[in-house]
Amino acid sequence: MGTEDGPSQNSAVIEFDRELHEVLAAHGKALYPSRALELQRSAASALSALLKRSEVLKVQAKDSGDEDAAARILMGECFVEGLMASCRLWISFREGEMDSAWEWLIRGQGAFEAAIRAHLDAPPQARERLAHLEALEILLFPPQAFLSTGMVIRQSECSLCGCAFGSCDHIEGRVYDGEFARRVVIEAVPREVSFVETPDDKGCRAYTIDCDGVNRNVLTWEEVPREKEHAQADTERQDTKQTEAS
């Protein structure tokens, strides 16, 4: 993946770029929605494999003490995750699995956003693809009722060093050794749930709606037996995780 600032000289970054070019040369044509389903499945698998490979290369970059190289590979890793999620979005969409398609859509949005934040030299393609996915959210799916949970954090820690959050020198959102510093909430008390227009997590939404006494899936408008609705949200999220892991 080229960057605005030119290529890195780190061997792990060079290797990552080479492998990404190979995957895109072999599978890039499958990233369009009209392409054959089998080609899209093959592309998604290749991108998932590259995602795993990037973890190894990132460790190499970290071990060489090149923090910038590790951040560049994180950026590439997020970009590949975005491509993989975009590909799986179309697969799920064509298979009629709309809840799953939605999960891949928001995962792709999050991944491209992370790529942009991971390094100052994020390629313009990350912004373009994020814009595509935001457009698809409006074009492919009906408006959603998003929920936001307000909670009081009692205990949290730093994702990188495990110290009490705020007591170390890792600043939330910044990249250290190829990883984002995050806040890991250990203990929290829910305070309220609100309907919001712009949630932090677009996966937090109403899955079904009661319309004239009929319980319907918000995305497909198909009737959903009430006993199934509670399990639906968990199942869909589980599916996206398992598909990616495989």
């Binding site: 956003e113 910044r174 919001v196």
Partner: protein, 168 residues
């Protein structure tokens, strides 16, 4: 264009702190989100972002005074909205008089962090940050609030500087 910066009166921070059994800050401090309304100290609640702002101020070597302690921080409210909700930064009259240059350093530290985090990402995310300027320890303060697009948060510092110069 929407007016993102608003200015309004704020209560006397030193008096309010005393009511809650807290020591009045003599330099700069972060005010809990319910500082105005809490009945007692144990009710005080920070924005989730406050912990990170404490870190930034500490790393920059700025003379922050905390109502809580790093070992026992206030509980924090996570809103899980896409917007960034910052804490309220309090600047005491003494701090403004003695270290006027550090006013800009402290505010830029926060606004640069917000822009670093979200400024390159397109979208509808907004930022919310307020600064309370103490004009006199005995009188009410002024609160300058920013609620708008991420990039526009840099407008907060000039607004604070104007509020400070208007008070002299």
């Amino acid at each position: 264009m929407e007016e993102a910066v608003t200015i309004g009166p704020y209560l006397a921070v030193a008096e309010r702190a005393a009511e809650l059994g807290l020591e009045a800050p003599r330099t700069l401090a972060l005010l809990p989100r319910n500082f105005e309304s809490a009945v007692e100290r144990d009710e005080l609640l920070d924005e989730a972002s406050a912990a990170t702002i404490h870190q930034l101020l500490r790393q920059a070597g700025l003379p922050e005074e905390r109502f809580d302690s790093p070992q026992e921080p206030f509980l924090a409210l996570a809103q899980h909205a896409v917007d960034w909700y910052g804490p309220t930064l309090f600047l005491s009259a003494g701090f403004i008089n003695e270290s006027p240059l550090l006013v800009g350093v402290a505010i830029n530290l926060i606004t640069d962090y917000v822009r670093e985090l979200f400024g390159r990402v397109p979208g509808r995310r907004r930022a919310h940050l307020a600064v309370v300027v103490e004009r006199d320890a005995e009188k009410e303060s002024v609160r300058i609030s920013y609620d708008g697009e991420i990039e526009g948060i840099k407008e907060l510092l000039p607004a604070v500087e104007r509020a400070i110069s208007d008070g002299h």
